[in-house]
Symmetry: D3
Subunit: 223 residues, 6 copies
């Protein structure tokens, strides 16, 4: 029953790179406020901003065998995305696996479990978003799946979906929506520029967005 899907479709690289530049919050808004992974997914070091095609992994609690399997499926520009089949904070991934992943062109790891060797990973510039940091080791006894659809930190992720991650967390974009989402994100960024200038000049959101009538209609009183 455990399975590795070898050929997955990916979004165009320039779309993926555009989504990385747009960042998590903008991409999330651009696709209709969807796709954010749970807020417990935090970067192990600050400042990384990446996007990549998801190579998905479903693994048992406390068993990191499938990471070795998954790395073979990585193409340059991909992100590894691991969800354990039940809650676990073990350190599934460390500097040796990162060395191997980097050699395949992997851009980072999203894992709803733990990682270790965080000082080394930081020195390597290898970004990770995880639920936990833990040195607790794992076994290699039970196969799982690679490139099947998983639920990671509250979001469904298909192999080849675009995952975007930065200091705000992680968001997933469906592969076949990636181009449209990028267009919406870029439009949003452009629109924000003008608003930012007006806000910086002291104009209020209440006025820019004409909120006062709606607030009054909902009964807001000033005293």
């Amino acid at each position: 029953m455990p399975v590795v899907v070898r050929n997955i479709a990916r979004a165009p690289q320039q779309v993926i790179d555009g989504l990385a530049r747009a960042g998590v919050a903008t991409v999330h808004e651009a696709q209709g406020r969807r796709g954010c992974l749970a807020s417990h997914m935090r970067p192990i070091w600050a400042g990384a901003q990446v996007a990549g095609s998801a190579v998905t992994i479903s693994a048992p609690p406390g068993d990191n065998w499938m990471l070795h399997v998954a790395i073979e499926q990585v193409q340059p520009g991909d992100l590894l995305v691991l969800a354990p089949t039940s809650p676990c904070d073990n350190g599934y991934f460390g500097d040796l696996l990162a060395t191997s992943a980097v050699a395949r062109g992997c851009r980072g790891l999203i894992i709803d479990a733990g990682v270790r060797d965080v000082r080394d990973l930081t020195a390597m510039g290898f970004p990770v978003w995880s639920r936990a940091i833990s040195a607790q080791g794992t076994v290699k006894e039970t196969p799982g799946d690679v490139n099947v659809t998983i639920v990671c930190a509250g979001q469904t992720i298909h192999a080849g979906d675009v995952v975007v991650a930065d200091d705000d967390g992680v968001v997933v974009v469906r592969r076949d929506e990636a181009e449209a989402v990028l267009a919406a994100a870029e439009a949003r960024l452009a629109a924000e520029e003008a608003k930012r200038a007006r806000l910086a000049a002291g104009e209020l959101g209440l006025d820019i967005y004409n909120m006062r009538p709606a607030l009054a209609a909902k009964g807001l009183k000033y005293v």
Copy 2:
């Protein structure tokens, strides 16, 4: 029923600034070990140490409308303090709202919910203490209240109370006690200097504070 209170009393600015210099732990002790917000309130970047008059906000879960309303009420030196009406980790606040808040002289945000755009907020030097970091967006559908008394992270906060925040977290000081608390804090800081020197020289707290008789009286044995 939703209401905005426009005129609130504030503590004298030099008192507020003195409390900022004293820092959270000292202020907390100086007022009789009261006023600390819950320890889940963490800074989004390290090193900020601020104090300000609270402009309070009560907002529904997942609705950030009242932040726009509150910013109009900010005066230079104020802090925004938001409590959701039920637990929520959405990203209520990001770089556009921060730009607007800074234009009004706002010194920072205390929010028992989530924020986003943390890289931008960090670059701006805008300090935030929050329960979560999340890109998850919010709606603008239901008004709340501004400058009413709220409970934020386990503490009652009135509009105009002085809120102090640093890397240790957040503490609230009643507006009419602020001057007395500052005096007590400064006395405490002065007293600590002498103790620090003695401790650095190797003298023990057991001796400086004369703890040995009390410990013996409570039955402590050395074996």
Copy 3:
């Protein structure tokens, strides 16, 4: 009934120093994947990597009296290790206690509770691994124990056990196993060097560790 044990055995200093160099993840693996404290034990600043003999403390919730007692028992190279008798996130320890501890040669603090004055502790270079950061103060009313066996963050720790801590968390090594664990850790580090080079060159863990037959035997299919 409260007791302070004054004379505890310690591992040889060069063994302790060797374990510090090996780091938490390697030491944990070297002793058979045992000894990791729970992953909620996080450093208050990044980059510290230390080991020391445990001076253990059992203290009531919200009472830091025994830290003063324990510091008298510290010898150069020791670590303070505190477990509250029930869950508590109060700030038991701050810059004054750190000043005193440093004067005795203490290398750091492991505490399954809270600390405060983290900016000062960071500036002093005094490392702490804790469950929480909190300015909430404590009382000095109820004695506890020093240098008895405790459970700290899920691990039994005896006085004089070697505790190793870095950015991955904290691990405990039994005093009488420390030398053997160090030997195993150093062997492991040496073996990793060769593997790292092969992985960096693009060789897969699947091949280096000859995992393919075992995976096939467990039913893994490629599609």
Copy 4:
């Protein structure tokens, strides 16, 4: 500084009893969706539905001394309401204190900490809403306060406020609003009867509340 306030005002008994009959959810709605304590406050046995005037207690973590002090202040029909000054799950209260409280006419306990002897308390029919059940004992070393304003499980509670509790949790009503809230609650209960009958007959809320136009206006599509 620790203080016991002896004379507190209470709401009329028939108002309190009416609020008990209305129950938590109805009272919460009737006062404008305010006043619910956090959902971690759960009854130790099912089926109790009570209301009473709050005798408030602020106590240190792991110290139940003030419960003895507070019981002297109880009048028939009161509820004890305890908030620790920092998070604690110790068993502050058991069958002996319950026996004493019942002798004073106390109707129950609301405690944002732990209780014990739950089998005895259940057999006595003494209702408790708590954060935890724990046999862990407490000390009697540090006084706190009785009948001061506290924050309990996220709500400000003044001495003499009316607290209502049932299987849905706990809600607080300001003493001087209690009569008006009761009137609103009773009106709400009456109005619900007609709606319940229509819903039971198969009519939809969509039609009873005329929601279809508003949903369409907000863009809801049927496919």
Copy 5:
């Protein structure tokens, strides 16, 4: 963008009823140890054991409008399954909605948020599995979706999937796998009977399953 899908496919009723009889643990094992919702999903009363076709709901935090919309889509034998778009413990559902749901033939509710009126729901025999019990009310301001694919408590659920729930929690079965899973579950139940008798007679699992050689091969020693 908010959408209601009106026509969904359902599994045959006798298959659904068979899965209900098999229960959660057996169904979970029978489909290859997949499909369990997170363990925080608990029944509000003990003893219910149900299965039904999922009418799925995606709703904003603190907004229960879509429950009214969803109830119109319920057919006899269905279960309502609600996931909020971000974590929320508000009481979305109470006795009036339950009355309406029952009138449509609804068998129960699965909700990764809160419910209220639990005494009434218990008296009605209406089963609910939820994350929380809370009287906190919700608004009706923002539409969501009905009968789209959702992630609820860590599992992807499509409209029309079969959801099984009992005192062990909740499991989801894909609609088009339901018949095969039922067959496997019934086979499993039959096989368990013989094992139960042998175990009851004192035979050991070690011998029934012939585990001793495998344990020895993995290095287990008896001392």
Copy 6:
């Protein structure tokens, strides 16, 4: 390295039975307020009150193999006590294992993880105290240890220690202290009888325990 210790010492049966009668809270107090497991350990059904000699199990996350091994070591009157080597909420134990355990005379299970088949276990009258209820199944791939010293829910437990459990949770008593603890517990129960009668008659703890002078000395004021 995995090991099963076959011959363990046990406390006298009448001492164990006496501790069961005394109950968790009394035993905990009688041994100096020590030994309570964390409060997340809750009974799956109410009303059980048991004690037994601990047959301890250390098991990997998501792997219940060692339960089969441990059951062979059970003697009539024992309790199984399982701690996973890292946090896990899987359902390690269900009705088949319970049937086997009962056949060996096992009195119950203490598990810092999950259980399933709770309806069957309840019908059997087999008591379990656990961290979670979950149908999620486990594998049988990695041996652990039986009858070694473990840390379970924050307490060190040696094989043969006496574990007492009731509706208040779980407490451990060292085997060689069991007799003395029982004597202290029985003395405590006897002493409580007189106090209960006085409290029931309306006398206050303040007077029975003569607390007023100590409270005044610590500064308590009545206003």
